[in-house]
Symmetry: C2
Subunit: 234 residues, 2 copies
């Protein structure tokens, strides 16, 4: 197909396709003559992945190239997913939150156990207790430690044990996530799907938690009213 059809079928403007080619993200097509290039199905698939990484995943062109290089190497699905998973933006609290410190304690003293080092140790202990296999290079280790340190600066210190019930539910959620990848054998399709799931399905999981929280507030209210001998309106 020509670039116009490639653009139409991939939903990516021709100018953007040319830009991706110049940046080395998209392989060249087959030159028919000095002014016409023929593209194939592999270009459509590749464009879908590029678009997912850049538009959905929010990756830079340089980071996208790294992921594509990994996808092009003869890696298995396991390694491909690992590369994509570590390349995606890491969840974190709003930047504003990081500057907040709880100075309302005795002379602003911060418990040793809740400092940055303490938080990193909690993360290691949690991973150990859960028996999780997590690469030392995982960006999610320091990010979790940072979130825990921010919480403890605000007076909410969590130990590894406090987080175990949440970690167990996270394991169950991750199993559901991987069930969604079952049956996808092609590595490029797998990488694209992983990006879509992380970028678009993560908000779904967060919103389900918010809805469940609203319901939990109702249930708690009802329970307390019953304990007090009241019968709240249904």
């Amino acid at each position: 197909m020509r670039i116009s059809e490639l653009s139409r079928r991939s939903g990516v403007p021709a100018a953007t396709i040319k830009y991706y080619r110049r940046e080395g993200l998209l392989p060249e097509g087959r030159a028919l003559n000095p002014t016409a290039v023929e593209y194939g199905e592999e270009h459509i698939q590749r464009l879908r992945l590029i678009r997912s990484l850049i538009q959905l995943g929010g990756l830079s062109v340089a980071r996208t190239r790294e992921v594509l290089d990994a996808v092009d190497r003869p890696l298995d699905a396991f390694e491909t997913l690992g590369v994509v998973h570590h390349a995606l933006p890491v969840p974190s609290a709003d930047k504003n939150a990081k500057g907040i410190k709880d100075d309302d304690g005795p002379d602003g003293a911060v418990d040793e156990a809740v400092s940055g080092e303490g938080a990193a140790a909690s993360v290691d202990a949690l991973i150990e207790t859960m028996g999780w296999r997590i690469s030392d290079a995982s960006p999610h280790r320091p990010a979790l430690a940072e979130s825990l340190a921010a919480l403890s600066r605000l007076g909410s210190a969590y130990t590894a044990d406090d987080l175990i019930p949440y970690a167990r539910l996270a394991t169950s959620t991750a199993d559901l996530d991987f069930a969604q990848l079952d049956g996808i054998e092609d590595r490029i399709a797998l990488a694209e799907r992983a990006v879509v799931l992380t970028a678009l399905f993560e908000p779904v999981v967060r919103l389900l938690r918010r809805l469940a929280q609203e319901d939990a507030n109702h249930r708690r209210h009802h329970r307390r009213a019953c304990v007090r001998g009241e019968h709240p309106a249904e």
Copy 2:
């Protein structure tokens, strides 16, 4: 205490305290004389909540005033939490993601069931099946519908049934969240805690899911190797 001590103990700069007073977020202190004002413990508590809403929650001054007005009304803990919960920023996919449309299908046709209306119906069906009590005014209803519509435009349509296993895990997570609020009876402290939990603990939950996904990738890899009769290195 004078404003200098209020500033030291709350961790909020004096200029910011004065700004909050001008904006009507913080009640006036007791005037000792024309140039000196005395503040009390209630001002520290109020400042903590304001700081949480604005810095952690990312709320505007106007929205913060609405939440404070609600907290000042003689609402019970249930209603206070409800107001805070709906005022906080709603999770959503990156704005870039919303513009993406999957045109690779047959002439870009979008299945009727996956359109915006279909997605809203899926959300209603999910809430109904789960027996969740969710206000019609909840901002999380349309946000979830929007996320589902975005996913289906990219070729990943989810029915209410597909989401039930995730919704069940969300219920368990919400129960853990509410256990963290147990024992807090003061409404202002409760509101502050709810903001901290949403703003800072939500990234923790997301990061635990990412870590669990990495482990799930390992387990899936191991299982597949075993099925093939291979014995991957531990």
